[in-house]
Amino acid sequence: MKFQKATALTLAAAMSATLAACGSSTAPQSQTNSSAAVSETSAAADSTEPSADAEASAASEEAPGEVDGATVTYDQIELGTTGTDLNTEIKLLTHRTDMMADDYNGTNWNAYLEEFGKVYPGIKVNIEAITDYASESLLRLQAGGWGDIMMIPAVDKADLSTYFTSFGDVENVESQVNYTKNFEYDGQVYGIPSTANAQGIVYNKKVFADAGITELPKTPDEFIGDLQKIRDNTDAIPLYTNYAAGWTMGAWDAYISGTATGDPDYMNNKLIHTKDPFAKNADDPGTYPYAVYKVLYDAVSKQLIEDDYTTTDWEGCKGMINNGQIACMVLGSWAVTQMQAAGPNAEDIGYMPFPITVDGKQYASAGPDYNFGISAECDATNREAAMIFIKWFTEKSGFSYNEGGLPIAADDSRVPDLYKPFTDNDVAFVADNPAPAEEADLPNEMNSESELAINAGGNEKVQSIVEHAFNGDEDFDSIMDEWNQKWSDAQDSLGVEILN
């Protein structure tokens, strides 16, 4: 026992040395060697090279008594049997502030926790919802001591193991959970999706019918034509940009990968190595990122959007599409429930695939929403409790289905009715593959270096499309040229190889 205590202390010391040096590549090698008696230390101390052992030592860091307790992985948990004797409190940080309210339209946090309490009365879950989650959570993460479960914010993959615990091997977890690719690193899974969304367009079925549109558009040209019909035949705003909210414009980035190319490797593997990715595709100008942003440019320049885009109102638009003042908006499927709840005409709100057809087939990017991650600072008990909660939330709570999302648990096949236009038209859901391990950080690096921030809050670049289209001071191709230039400069400065 004494030896164990000493071991644990050495481990703790090595870990704190690691934390102190976290982020810098010059980990104090001498310190590591002095405590190298324990096999885990060297792996734990080298933060730039996380391995399976890192999480084992992380779990033991603050729980000296449980060093030799086997660490449970996600796939080993049998809900209802594993850990029923656990008695602990865990804290969860979430972005879903709306679900804290008692009058939330749908199942709120309290209702879920009540259900969970029936199965695991010993595990108490405290929930803290944070407005402005994306930036606040990063600060909390840096400060440490934030709790046990967090919706993983934008962290470099290489840093995942510094902050979060592994759920288990990729192989084992993937057999039970969909869409885990975003937070896989070095053979380990660090995040379990809360729900998954597909990318399409929210539209008002009634307005489309009133305008005389009988078949959903499949190409950008058909779509613009349909918007024109709506402008001519109805009083509704054909396409509401939600320009002023900002992030709603950044949402357009989500369509440039799977949706526009049908290629699961495009986003994280090819885009980075592509020369001029925003250029017009020679084979079919109606595909690839160029086509996605062109839809926006054309809609604005043909005045098929709202009159005063600078004063759009995000909360207001929900009611407007519900009662037929707006025909469609380009948003992820998560938005649909909110639009349905905003007025009396829930049945009018539908979801359709983005109008791009690649070689005769339509695709829709599908991907996880925020992922749950478990703090690397958790002791073994809380870690197990947290993992049990997440597994329960994924498999038993019905959260994803309730929120209109695609199934997360691998054996779950319930797809919400919402996706009927997708399944009817045989639209294939494409989940992006992650970048290879040695390039795991490259997408983030490219986003930062080029300042295009694709799928990472690059709202301004999409807003600028609207501005230029409206003011007519720059044509679409030259905007794309500018972006290509920024992308090329970033590729140069990061030394990225151009492959195609």
Partner: protein
């Protein structure tokens, strides 16, 4: 005398701690160490860190590489960053307008005005409105066909002839500056009123007896009397307009050509995660504000050189200096003459 100093030299440390001088020093140190420590911890240390960051290419998490002055070069070479500083000019014009307006209102309201207190409260009220709420208020205020347009249509403007206040890039910055003036004019006014109240009222009476009208009273009594606070307000407003942030951030989120330097900095730091560049921008802005303050100080020193109320006038000072110099020269000349005379006397003696 000599014996006491010798004794104090050999005094034990214990005795030394009982001296008044020592205890006074200790109390000063004990009282000031806490605020100084807090100041250091929360202001100078983070600032020092930030200056350090500005020489690196780094994100919030992950590796950092030393790049020297490259970040500072980017500030000047990038159109979006340096161009954003031009927007400060809009806010500076707004700030000057705001000061003049505040001074005007303060002068009127510090005289006997019916419902004066009510007006003061009404004009000051916007300052109490939360900055985020302001964003919502003005988005609706400027929405086409909403509040502002409705009011303008009452006075005869036709809705079709009115511009889109936030969409039109020629006027949207003025619209934002307007919100800033609306918010801060009350605060400036209250400061001015406070200063005006401190002017001796007997001066007004005397002026009235002498037949001075309102404007003359303002020019010769109020303005010189509140000169310090005017200077302060101008300096605060100008430096404030260099770091204008709120209107642009909450109303338009910096889009459509309204992104001020601060908003761009926020974007670079948080969206693009270029912490090094953003730190360099912050340091550069600090230098700029510092420079602006110094220049203004110099200008005011020059502009008010005749009006330093307590000091003697500039001319008087000059005259006095000249007189002293002349006197010294005379004394010197006199002494030399004396020496010469003495020397001559000795020679004669010899």
């Amino acid at each position: 005398m000599a014996s006491t100093t010798a004794a104090s030299g050999r005094r034990s440390f214990r005795e030394f701690t009982r001296t008044r001088k020592f205890q006074r020093t200790m109390i000063i140190i004990a009282f000031s160490i806490i605020p100084l420590f807090l100041l250091f911890l929360f202001t100078y240390l983070p600032f020092g860190e930030m200056v350090g960051f500005s020489f690196y290419k780094m994100k919030y998490v992950g590796r950092r590489t030393y790049v020297g002055l490259k970040n500072y070069q980017s500030i000047f070479s990038r159109k979006d960053i340096f161009g954003a500083l031009v927007l400060s000019l809009y806010y500076m014009v707004g700030a000057l307008f705001q000061i003049v307006l505040a001074l005007y209102l303060a002068t009127i309201l510090s005289m006997k005005v019916r419902l004066g207190k009510l007006f003061k409260a009404v004009i000051f009220f916007p300052f109490l409105v939360n900055g985020i709420a302001m964003g919502f208020i003005f988005k609706f205020f400027y929405t086409h066909g909403f509040v502002l347009d409705t009011i303008l249509s009452w006075v005869g403007f036709h809705i079709d002839s009115l511009p889109y206040w936030l969409r039109d890039q020629r006027i949207n910055n003025w619209a934002l500056v307007g919100t800033s003036v609306w918010r801060y004019v009350g605060q400036n006014m209250i400061l001015f009123i406070g200063a005006i109240m401190s002017v001796d009222p007997s001066l007004y009476e005397a002026a009235e007896i002498d037949g001075a009208n309102g404007f003359q009273q303002f020019k010769y009594i109020i303005l010189p009397g509140i000169q310090t606070i005017v200077t302060l307000n101008i300096i605060l407003s100008i430096t404030g307009s260099l770091s204008a942030f709120e209107p642009s951030y909450v109303i338009t989120s910096g889009a459509n050509g309204t992104g001020t330097y601060f908003v761009i900095m926020d974007r670079i730091a948080h969206t693009d995660q270029k912490v090094g560049l953003a730190s360099a921008m912050a340091v550069f802005l600090l230098c700029l504000i510092f420079l602006a303050t110094v220049i203004q100080k110099l200008i005011f020193r020059f502009a008010f050189r005749n009006a330093q109320a307590e000091d003697e006038s500039f001319q008087a000072k000059k005259a006095r200096k000249r007189a002293i110099r002349a006197a010294r020269a005379e004394i010197k000349a006199g002494k030399e003459a004396q020496k010469r005379m003495l020397a001559d006397g000795r020679k004669e003696d010899a």
